[in-house]
């Protein structure tokens, strides 16, 4: 959420609309209460500030990311641990990075791919050391298949964001 906000100061309802755009039907389940609770927490943590905006309408609070918040966003974008981020979190990372021009989403995908390939290499080496048919080999096969699925999804992310950003120069 903080990263979505990093693009520019915005109202809570704008933020909710952006999240809904990025998440599609999955985002429908999020109600505005959750958004405001989270914004309140971010404010308390010193990562975002809130200002009352003069004017009409029920929602006049404009939220903005603080320098500490910006740092947190940058660290989050660079983070590559796995299976830490679930698909939605990684997806939002790319959406937020592209929307706020915080980072090149394709570069984030590349960094994540490097990390997953290292993990796959280790998994595979462990699997190759096991004799075929052992219990441990089966567990490693599960880990390898999961990483492969993640890597295939990263390929899809790459295609999508390459098309969106018109490729890298």
């Amino acid at each position: 959420m903080l990263a979505m906000l990093a693009k520019e100061p915005m109202h809570g309802y704008e933020l909710r609309a952006r999240l809904r755009d990025a998440l599609g039907p999955i985002g429908e389940a999020m109600n505005s209460g959750q958004i405001y609770v989270t914004l309140g927490r971010l404010e308390k943590a010193g990562l975002a500030t809130c200002e009352l905006e003069a004017g009409q309408g029920p929602d006049r609070k404009v939220y903005e990311v603080t320098p500490a918040g910006q740092q947190r966003v940058a660290a989050w974008l660079a983070e590559v641990s796995w299976p830490g981020p679930a698909p939605a979190e990684f997806h939002l990372k790319l959406v937020a990075a592209a929307a706020g021009r915080l980072a090149d989403p394709v570069a984030i995908v590349d960094a994540q791919r490097r990390e997953l390939l290292r993990l796959l290499r280790d998994t595979q080496q462990a699997a190759l050391e096991e004799l075929p048919g052992t219990d441990a080999g089966l567990l490693l096969e599960g880990a390898a298949l999961r990483l492969q699925a993640d890597l295939r999804w990263l390929e899809a992310c790459e295609r999508h964001w390459l098309g969106r950003t018109g490729g890298r120069s």
């Binding site: 796995w82 299976p83 590349d110 490097r114 997953l116 390939l117 290292r118 993990l119 796959l120 290499r121 280790d122 998994t123 595979q124 080496q125 462990a126 699997a127 190759l128 075929p132 567990l139 490693l140 096969e141 599960g142 880990a143 390898a144 298949l145 999961r146 990483l147 492969q148 890597l151 295939r152 390929e155 790459e158 295609r159 390459l162 490729g167 890298r168």
Partner: protein, 249 residues
């Protein structure tokens, strides 16, 4: 011999197809250096030029520009006969569709390159049996390709690629037609070759293959866009990966 163990070197390598408006740069200004004994994987979306690059490295196609050198010999300036000889003796190819000759047994398929390179039938045969043993097919030497599984066929193809002790094995989607178990067999085989000091350049879509390399190159639109060294273990993360709780102390 090239300096400091460099086996393959390209400089500003280019390959274009078509003319005028329809011209496509399949390989665009590629600088690559491969050290002896290194395993390199090249990944990238379909049509990114990775197979074309492999063909240029193995002398299967001629470059449109730039230099390509194998063990100190410039392929781009070599005549047709020289190139053909180099393909036969210095390079071993492995393809996705195996490309075995259906009418010949496993052993005869592996013998063929040695015979073409001028070795005696007896020597070619000895070598073929040795290689088939090395790829774990000592008991399949008299089988026709049609009687072998996909994984076994690919292992015959790898044995054939090794027939003339090539300086480098170039593999194009070697596991593209294989199931998970057969893929693991081929990866195990590549791992053994790597340990024995064989230089390997593998073009692949398969992350499992890419993950076995020392160095991974990502291509897009004919260019290298990313290069990663995969060595340096992170074994510690495997526990977390399979969902084991963290253990302290």
């Amino acid at each position: 011999m090239s300096e400091n163990g460099t086996l393959i070197r390209t400089k500003g390598l280019r390959k274009e197809f078509g003319k005028g408006e329809a011209r496509v740069r399949a390989v665009d200004d590629v600088d690559l250096s491969v050290t002896r004994g290194e395993t390199i994987a090249i990944m990238g979306p379909s049509g990114c030029g990775k197979s074309t690059l492999l063909h240029l490295l193995g002398g299967l196609e001629r470059a449109s520009g730039g230099e390509v050198e194998l063990a100190g010999t410039r392929l781009d300036t070599l005549g047709e006969r020289g190139l053909a000889r180099l393909r036969r003796t210095a390079v071993g190819f492995v393809f996705q569709a195996f490309h075995l000759i259906d009418e010949l047994t496993a052993r005869e398929n592996v013998e063929l390159p040695a015979l073409l390179a001028g070795r005696s039938p007896r020597e070619a045969r000895r070598r073929a049996l040795e290689l088939l043993d090395r790829v774990g097919l000592a008991d399949r030497t008299t089988f026709m390709p049609s009687a072998l599984s996909g994984g076994q066929r690919q292992r015959v193809a790898v044995a054939r690629a090794l027939s003339n002790d090539p300086l480098v094995v170039l593999a194009d989607e070697p596991t593209g037609n294989l199931d998970s178990a057969a893929t693991l067999d081929v990866l195990r085989l590549f791992g053994n070759l790597h340990r024995d000091g064989q230089t390997l350049v593998i073009v692949t879509h398969d992350p499992r293959v890419a993950a076995t390399s020392d160095r991974l190159i990502t291509m897009r639109d004919g260019m290298f866009v990313d290069e990663t060294r995969l060595t340096g273990g992170t074994r510690g993360n495997l526990g977390a990966l399979v969902g084991l709780p963290e253990m302290n102390g």
